[in-house]
């Protein structure tokens, strides 16, 4: 009996030793609350990653936390470290500047940090950076529209919210359009990545400009509002409404050969899934990620649209 007990204890110790050798990884995932379509997609893809990766790796734990504000996210990062003992963090910061310090502090305590999409102000606060390509997000629609309009025509632009991401996209768009002197950007107003605001701004564009050849709505949610306003005004001069980010309904329209929505540009919330997966795979092996991974934004047309169609995602 005594012997048996000893053997059991020995086995348990060996087991524990083995587990340590195989590296238990606890990944904390800090993302924004689902407040619109895109962040809804982020939350869905993060949970998808948790489900798949935890099932495949018994040594892996993924804890997903969503925050509605910057202070809340900073608190969550703290809690993930103190309560959940995470040793890797994948974060999509709500704001770059104000989260740099809190993230730098957890990194200094030995947590491996992967920052997604919106960057931090100091690269020292992160081990790796994974992002979508905002420049291509603006450049590709400009190239596409210039080609579609044969280098001549009038475009109206709906911008997102005043932010660095929006500036990056719009600057890239304008830079490309400048190469085509026949194309004129009539105006660019904020639709705030919101359907209702985009509807109003588009209505007013339609009142103001009698000839519009194309709309760059810069986001699929805004494209819905713009399409409804065009439909209501029964305008036939518009040849293309280009949204962006590859929302499932927009990709579906591209697949179905919609009259106004014939192309899109990918900027899928799936990059949070990719970032979590890459971090988990690397950390389980004790490896590091490349310092910077840009997930390319690709032009979606009828030919390749089915690869970008995720009917189960909310976005």
């Amino acid at each position: 009996m005594h012997l048996l007990k000893n053997i059991t204890v020995a086995c348990l110790l060996a087991g524990a030793g083995h587990a340590i050798a195989a590296q238990n990884v606890t990944i904390g995932v800090a993302i924004p609350t689902a407040t619109h379509g895109f962040t809804g997609g982020i939350v869905w893809w993060a949970n998808q990653a948790k489900k798949e990766l935890e099932a495949a790796n018994p040594n892996l734990k993924v804890i997903v936390k969503t925050a509605g504000s910057t202070p809340e996210q900073a608190n969550q990062v703290q809690d993930l470290l103190v309560v959940n003992k995470m040793n890797a963090l994948v974060i999509l910061p709500l704001e770059s500047a104000s989260l740099t310090q809190p993230v730098a502090q957890v990194k200094n305590k030995g947590v491996y940090v992967t920052v997604v999409d919106r960057g931090l102000t100091s690269p020292n606060a992160q081990n790796a950076y994974v992002a979508g390509d905002n420049t291509a997000f603006g450049r590709l629609p400009a190239e596409y529209l210039a080609k579609k309009l044969n280098g001549k025509g009038n475009i109206v632009v709906l911008r997102g919210m005043p932010s660095t991401i929006d500036n990056e996209r719009v600057n890239a768009f304008n830079a490309e359009i400048k190469k085509h002197p026949g194309i004129k950007v009539l105006d660019a107003k904020y639709g705030n990545w919101n359907r209702d605001d985009a509807f109003k701004v588009m209505q007013d564009y339609l009142t103001r400009f009698k000839g519009i050849d194309a709309v760059w709505a810069a986001d699929d949610d805004m494209a819905i509002g713009a399409l409804k306003a065009i439909e209501q005004a029964k305008r036939t001069d518009i040849k293309e409404v280009f949204g962006g980010a590859g929302a499932k309904f927009a990709v579906k329209k591209v697949i179905d050969g919609d009259k106004l929505v014939q192309a899109n540009v990918s900027y899928s919330p799936k990059f949070i899934y990719d970032a979590i997966k890459m971090t988990a795979t690397a950390r389980l092996k004790g490896e590091a990620l490349p310092a910077k991974t840009i997930i390319p934004s690709v032009l979606i047309t009828k030919e390749n649209a089915s690869q970008f169609y995720y009917p189960n995602s909310p976005y």
């Binding site: 609350t33 689902a34 407040t35 619109h36 379509g37 962040t39 809804g40 997609g41 939350v43 869905w44 911008r159 005043p162 105006d187 660019a188 107003k189 904020y190 990545w193 919101n194 359907r195 209702d196 509807f199 109003k200 701004v201 209505q203 007013d204 564009y205 009142t207 103001r208 949610d221 819905i224 509002g225 409804k228 209501q232 309904f249 995602s313 909310p314 976005y315």
Partner: protein
Amino acid sequence: MQPTPTTDRGELSPPSPPTSTRAAGTGFPALRLKGAGPVVALVLLCIAGALLNPEFATFDNLMNVLTRTAFIGIIAVGMTFVIASGGIDLSVGSMAALIAGVMIVAMNALALGPSPPSPVATVVLGIALALAFGASAGFAHGFLVTHGRIEPFIVTLGTLGIFRAVLTWLSDGGAITLDYNLSESYGPVYYQSVLGVPIPVWIFALVAVAGVVILNRTPFGQHVQAIGSNEQVARYASIRVDRVKTLTYLLLGVCVAIATILYVPRLGSATPTTGILWELEAIAAVVVGGTSLKGGAGRIMGTVVGAILLSVIGNILNLTSIISVYLNAAVQGVVIITVAYLQRGRR
């Protein structure tokens, strides 16, 4: 919202409760005079708009502006009752979003169910559900404020979070979209015109007229203003304060439902960003229209003008490009404060 002394209200103060029946007649000309502030501001803005862009003064643009004002305007009419009685409701934007979401989910379920009713019947059921939902949510607010003795600010701040979170959960963070066949039958409610005027504008006008009648010509309306003026005195005058207050929230809930019924066919979907900041726009319309946030005298026509004023600012900013787009919100803020200042000067 503490009741305030009636002394600073001059000729506008609602009549003392026992003699409430004679009030409407004498109060009315004074109301019209007082309401001139926002009207003057609106006229000035329209002149500026027409000078900046000739398209501003077209009939189509006018209808666009009035149609988009309808949502906030209808809610603001209901909000006038709540504010006039000394209360506040911060939840209306979230409530509208949740009503839209619940309505769409229910209509889709009916349409895609085993024995679907005709699309028109489905839409009618959806509308009935929206009204019932709005009325019960409003009643719940009123009940918590009066019987629960919780500040309306806190009650509705709480439900603001609850309503939006439930919608976000229902929609999985994405969009709840109305079934295509249903939106074909429901679409005309927003897009159709009668005698050249879009349906939402008609409904807005009806709600406004009903609001004026109820607030200025019925005992209930007089009680609302009396309670907002001085709740304690109203109690001594044997006004059933709790019941009247509850009714104001219920009325607002119904207004939110009506606004949502007009909103849903526009885009045929509800998302977690639907109705964000509507509560502030509605409250701004009420205050710009001359109703004091402290309660007391309510002015429905002022509220209507205030709501239109807010839309017109946005419309003018969209029709011109002389001001940096970054400063749009600043222009709106300046106009709101200026009009409120003019109101204050008139008191």
